[in-house]
Every structure is written in structure tokens, then in C-alpha cells.
């Protein structure tokens, strides 16, 4: 019979979390040096599902690369496509009809709500609560149905085109979106009663994993990670693009810096996105969804272009270096979770493993987006 291994009081051991682990929500590996239940050191290992999206961007023509963007972040795909089309339109001087821009904003915000809902469910499930996931998925399903009816796909959309959209929204969609807004507001109240007020939930998050402003700045964190630490930065407000200046919405900022603050920011963001969708539906102008002269061959003039957008996971930047050809010379994708995740190594030192996994959930990681 084997005798149990006895650790010396100051001895540490290595715990390997992932690459296949439910808490990492994807193929992320975390090498943790543990002292009992406390983390001494952690190292995130990425690259298990690297698919060379940047290289593909160089090899494919501009329209052929459209569908790659929705394969990066499978939960909030439209935000990424939005950044790409805005960049190429800026580079090649394509003017987008106003209706198309409004529909884009509505779609991106609906997608953001869907993404946050999934995060909410998965996050609470990480902490041991199962039923909120089911309720969140039920609400998310309404959004997916709406998006499917318009775009034709449920997750990996390829809806935006250079100059406009793949197809127009119909009255059914507008009616469904209008029905969805009060429904979602009612659900938000339910979630706050069910989860936010829950004593176990609060005890697991309050004061846990404090991230200082300085640390967020140092690592280039964005989205709820930065806004939960008191940094008021939202690309939609700070570097306005598309029709976002037309909308009246707030950027939720919390100064508590803990996991609960990050949770609260995302929950408030759902409400703000609902406001944007509502205003977008009210203001939706008529007209075409593609410019009169549909751009045939996309060849941006030689130069260096950059566009940042606020996706569900943070500020996504895309840089294009064009040499005037039909393929980009270089396409750099700056993914927000890549920066958000690297906080983890430094921030989780000295934390208990259960708190660290809750903290990881609050970062809202989507691994294909980190690896891209």
C-alpha cells in the first residue's frame, strides 16, 4: 500500500488547472504553485487553440476575412466584425448609409446583452449556483432568435459588409426587439433579487481580488475589469465611432475594485445596452442599407489605419497596414481579454484557490479570443 505524501510546512506543490477544466471556460491552462490552499505563484499558459487569424488576414482579401472576426469571440461576435468593417471603410473612404449604422449599433448592443447574459450565468455557476444559468440562457435565446431571423446564424454571424449590411431588418425584428426590452428589464430585477442580493454570492465576491487602478492601467485592462476599478473608459464615449454619439447612455463605473464591482458593471451595462437598443429603434431612419454604388473591389490606399471599438469584453483594436493591394500587408488584432487575463498572474498571488477561480470568472475570459 502507498503511504500518503506528507508535505513539509513550507513546501509548495504545483497544481495544473486546465487546459481542459470547466472553470477556465475554454482551453486555458493555469500552472499554480500552491501552499496548501493558497496560491504562491500562478502562470497562465495560452496558445492551445491559436488559429493564426492575423496571418489569415494577410493571406485573404478584405471581404474574405469578414467571417474570421466572428470566430474570435464566439459570444459577442458582432462587436468584432463592427471594428473590422469600420476600419476598412475608414481606410477606403466608403460612406455607410445612416440606416445601416443604426442597425449595426442595435445588433451589436443586442449581442452585448447576449454575451453578458451568458457570462452572468456561467459566472454564477462557477460559484455553485446552477439555476441562474438556465434563466439567463432563456433570455439569451430570445436575442439569438431575433439575430438568427435577420442574420441567418445564431453565433458566428457574418452580417456586416463593407458599406452596409448583408440584409435589412424587417418589422418582425423590430416588434420582437420592442417586446424584448421590457421583458429583459423585468428579468434584470429578478436576477438582482436572485443573485446580487444573495448572501453567499456577496460573501464570495465582496472585497475579493482587489485590482488597483494602477494595475489595470499597467496591463491595459479594459471593459468591466477597468471600470470596476474606477477607470471611466469606454471607447463608445472616449473615442466615439459609428452612431454612438447620437445615443444617450451612461458608462457604469464602480470604485470598489473587487469582483463584485466587476459583476455590477456588467449587470449595469446590460441595462445601458437596453437603453441604446430602445433609442436605436426609436430613431431608426429609413433608406438603403448599402451605398448606391456598392464597392466592388476593396483596395485601401497605402497607409496605416487603426480603429478601436468597445466589444462585450473590452476595447478591441484592429490595425491595418495597407500597401494598396487587395490583401492587407499586416493586420494586427488587439484583443481585450488577452490584456485582462494577464492581470491574473499578478493579482491572484496569496489568494485562496476558490477565490482565484471566482476572480477568473469575473474577468470574463473567452479563450479563442485570447489565442485568436
Amino acid at each position: 500500500m502507498n503511504s500518503p505524501i506528507l508535505l513539509q510546512p513550507d513546501e509548495t506543490f504545483i497544481l495544473n488547472v486546465g487546459p481542459q477544466h470547466p472553470a477556465t471556460h475554454g482551453v486555458l491552462r493555469v500552472k499554480m504553485e500552491m501552499h496548501g490552499e493558497y496560491i504562491v505563484n500562478a502562470e497562465t499558459v495560452i496558445g492551445y487553440i491559436h488559429r493564426m487569424h492575423e496571418k489569415m488576414g494577410e493571406l485573404k482579401t478584405y471581404p474574405q476575412f469578414l467571417m474570421n472576426l466572428s470566430r474570435m469571440d464566439y459570444l459577442g461576435a458582432l462587436g468584432y466584425s463592427h471594428g473590422h468593417v469600420l476600419l476598412v471603410e475608414k481606410a477606403s473612404g466608403i460612406v455607410v448609409p445612416e440606416r445601416a449604422e443604426y442597425i449595426r449599433a442595435i445588433m451589436v448592443e443586442l449581442n452585448r446583452i447576449a454575451s453578458h447574459l451568458f457570462w452572468f450565468g456561467a459566472f454564477v455557476m462557477d460559484l455553485g449556483g446552477f439555476s441562474p444559468l438556465m434563466y439567463a440562457l432563456q433570455d439569451r435565446e430570445h436575442i439569438l432568435d431575433m439575430l438568427e431571423a435577420v442574420t441567418g446564424s445564431r453565433l458566428t454571424y457574418c452580417y456586416f459588409r463593407f458599406g452596409g449590411l448583408y440584409n435589412d431588418v424587417d418589422d418582425d425584428f423590430i416588434a420582437a426587439a420592442r417586446r424584448f426590452i421590457p421583458r429583459m428589464r423585468k428579468s434584470m430585477k429578478k436576477y438582482h433579487r436572485l443573485v446580487t442580493g444573495n448572501i453567499i454570492f456577496r460573501k464570495r465576491l465582496e472585497g475579493i481580488a482587489p485590482l488597483s487602478k494602477e494595475m489595470c492601467r499597467k496591463y491595459g485592462a479594459s471593459s468591466a475589469v477597468a471600470r470596476g476599478s474606477g477607470i471611466n473608459f469606454d471607447v463608445r464615449k472616449n473615442e466615439p465611432y459609428s452612431v454612438y454619439p447620437e445615443f444617450d447612455f451612461d458608462v457604469p463605473v464602480y470604485h470598489e475594485c473587487d469582483s463584485l464591482a466587476r459583476y455590477m458593471v456588467r449587470m449595469d451595462e446590460i441595462e445601458q445596452s437596453l437603453r441604446i437598443v430602445e433609442q436605436g429603434l426609436d430613431k431608426l431612419p429609413g433608406g438603403p442599407i448599402m451605398p448606391d454604388k456598392k464597392p466592388k473591389l476593396i483596395k485601401p490606399p497605402a497607409g496605416d489605419y487603426y480603429q478601436a471599438v468597445e466589444t462585450a469584453r473590452g476595447s478591441f483594436g484592429i490595425r491595418l497596414v495597407s500597401d494598396g493591394g487587395k490583401n492587407p500587408y499586416r493586420l494586427k488584432l488587439r484583443s481585450p481579454t488577452y490584456s485582462n487575463m494577464h492581470l491574473f498572474d499578478e493579482a491572484c498571488r496569496g489568494m485562496m484557490i476558490m477565490d482565484a477561480l471566482a476572480f477568473m470568472g469575473s474577468l470574463d475570459l473567452v479563450i479563442p479570443e485570447i489565442d485568436r
Binding site: 485573404k60 474574405q64 469578414l66 438568427e148 431571423a149 446564424s153 448583408y166 433579487r193 442580493g197 448572501i199
Partner: protein, 146 residues
């Protein structure tokens, strides 16, 4: 001391509120569809794999221009055609779709100026055999006609 007991009380209350909500949800009607036994009809714009569109005579509308082949980002379409003797237009002889590579972006359908390809509504395509995903669209068109 007071804060300690207040916390216990509010904490307990929060648990009961949560239980109340799940209890109410328990009696709500089921919204899930038990998939293999029940299926949903796909929306009109659903993007399945592509299929050929036929004209009034039942022949494919395709004129073998090859634009879809060029537009495809993943090189999953290969087609061929020939001019019949005495005929003016090319006639499609082969249209293969490698669905293992297709990402359903719809570039091919958009690039077609003749309306010769369309999205199908098929989604029950699971298979353990790779060969099942090499579609011969001409053959599928023939089968559809029958």
C-alpha cells in the same frame, strides 16, 4: 453585535427570496424542445450549406462563371462545365462542396449574379464519416427533383 445579527437576518432573507424565485420558476411552462423528438422550423433566412437553384425546366441556373469559387475564403467549392455541341451557354457538369471547410459565410451566394445558388435549411448533418460532408450538389439537385 447588532450588525452581526442584522447580517444573519438579511442573509437568511436573501436565501429565502432566492428560493421563492426558483420555486415560482418551477411552475412556469417548459420552454425547451426535446430535440431529436421535436424539431423547430428554421427561419426564412437560415444559412445552411448551399444548394443549386433550378430553372423552370429543372436544369441548374448556373452558367459556370466560377465567381463563387473565387469568392470562397476557404476554397471549398469546385465546379466544372462544358459547352454542349451546338449550344451557346456552358452547362454545369460538376459542382462539389467540401462542407468540412465551409464556414457558412455566404460569400458565394452574394457573389452569384445569376441567383444560381441558395442556402438550404438542412441542419441534421451530423456524421462520423468525413466523406459524408463532400457534397455533390448536382446529385442533390437530381434527388430533390425526384
Amino acid at each position: 453585535m447588532v450588525a452581526y445579527f442584522t447580517e444573519i437576518f438579511t442573509g437568511l432573507m436573501s436565501l429565502f427570496i432566492g428560493m421563492g424565485i426558483t420555486f415560482k420558476e418551477f411552475f412556469k411552462p417548459t420552454v425547451t424542445v426535446s430535440y431529436p423528438y421535436e424539431t423547430l422550423t428554421m427561419s426564412a433566412r437560415y444559412r445552411g450549406h448551399i444548394e443549386l437553384v433550378e430553372d423552370e425546366e429543372g436544369n441548374p441556373q448556373c452558367v459556370v462563371c466560377g465567381l463563387c469559387e473565387k469568392a470562397c475564403p476557404s476554397d471549398c467549392i469546385s465546379l466544372a462545365g462544358e459547352k454542349p455541341e451546338g449550344g451557346k451557354k456552358k452547362v454545369l457538369t460538376k459542382y462539389k462542396l467540401d462542407f468540412t471547410k465551409c464556414s457558412l459565410c455566404g460569400s458565394c451566394v452574394e457573389s452569384c449574379s445569376f441567383g444560381a445558388i441558395n442556402f438550404s435549411k438542412d441542419y441534421n448533418l451530423a456524421s462520423t464519416n468525413k466523406e459524408d460532408f463532400y457534397f455533390d450538389l448536382l446529385k442533390r439537385l437530381e434527388e430533390r427533383k425526384k
